[in-house]
Symmetry: C2
Subunit: 163 residues, 2 copies
């Protein structure tokens, strides 16, 4: 049974003739999995990248090595660069990306387990970025991130229709 | 609850110090999702690409445009090129890829709905390729493909230990 929010995503973007590219790290491909449960998703989804290690963020979708060195991979700057990078590399209208610490280990005082930065770069290069600190387990955190990323895309699409 | 076969994948590759890169089309990221349900998967998984349209197969992981034109994207040649391409682009030991027709439409006489080509390129450039014609629905076909891809990697890893 496909996720209702994924169906809403496909319908909304198709209605507006907008295409999407995704860059997933923590979620590993969960958003793409939801999308491909829906027949006809190719109208909307160009594809995605799951650069789990840092260097595919650089090699696959063109995130700058210096940016990752300066800000870290779990940062607003990294999330925005990933969203813009995957959008531009795949020539889509909208790019969405997330990068965080799903746990159960790997957290720090400034970036506790559950921290995730999500970003969406929409038409006209409008940027939506958001930090959350989820409080679920690893699988729950992944799911929360995936849902919120889809919501960010829906918000970007709605806003693009108003301009 | 993480998939048992994904846990087996991580344990087996970690034991042999082998890394993996994935290229998913039909499954959209399902394999990466299973992998990232497991804490510590970064020991093994470098990341992946989900080139749903054809041109990200070319732009993201270096599949040749002429190859896709000559053989089509649902072919042994495309699956092998995707597996080798994602392995080389992400500098992993093993690359696994799949490309098919999940349905419910899009089939033809020579490539009916449910057809999928899967390929794994392992250490020493050994190639494992396999065609299946699944008989489930879209979600079922995706799941069967993801499981069989993981099995191909396990076979490649086992064989690499014997050489």
């Amino acid at each position: 049974m496909a996720e209702a929010i994924a169906q809403q995503l496909i319908d909304t973007l198709a209605e507006r003739s907008l295409t999407l590219a995704t860059a997933e790290t923590d979620t590993g491909g969960l958003i793409g999995h939801w999308i491909t449960d829906i027949a006809g998703c190719s109208r909307v989804w160009i594809g995605g990248a799951s650069p789990y290690h840092n260097y595919p963020k650089i090699d696959l979708i063109g995130v700058s090595r210096d940016l990752l060195r300066e800000h870290g991979s779990v940062s607003e700057e990294a999330a925005v660069a990933m969203a813009r990078g995957v959008r531009d590399t795949l020539n889509a209208d909208i790019g969405v990306a997330e990068t965080g610490i799903t746990g159960p280990t790997g957290g720090s005082e400034s970036r506790p387990v559950g921290t995730v930065w999500m970003a969406c770069v929409g038409p006209g290069d409008r940027v939506y970025a958001e930090r959350q600190v989820w409080n679920s387990d690893r699988e729950g955190n992944k799911r929360l991130t995936a849902v919120r990323c889809v919501e960010l895309v829906l918000e970007a699409a709605a806003s693009s229709a108003n301009t």
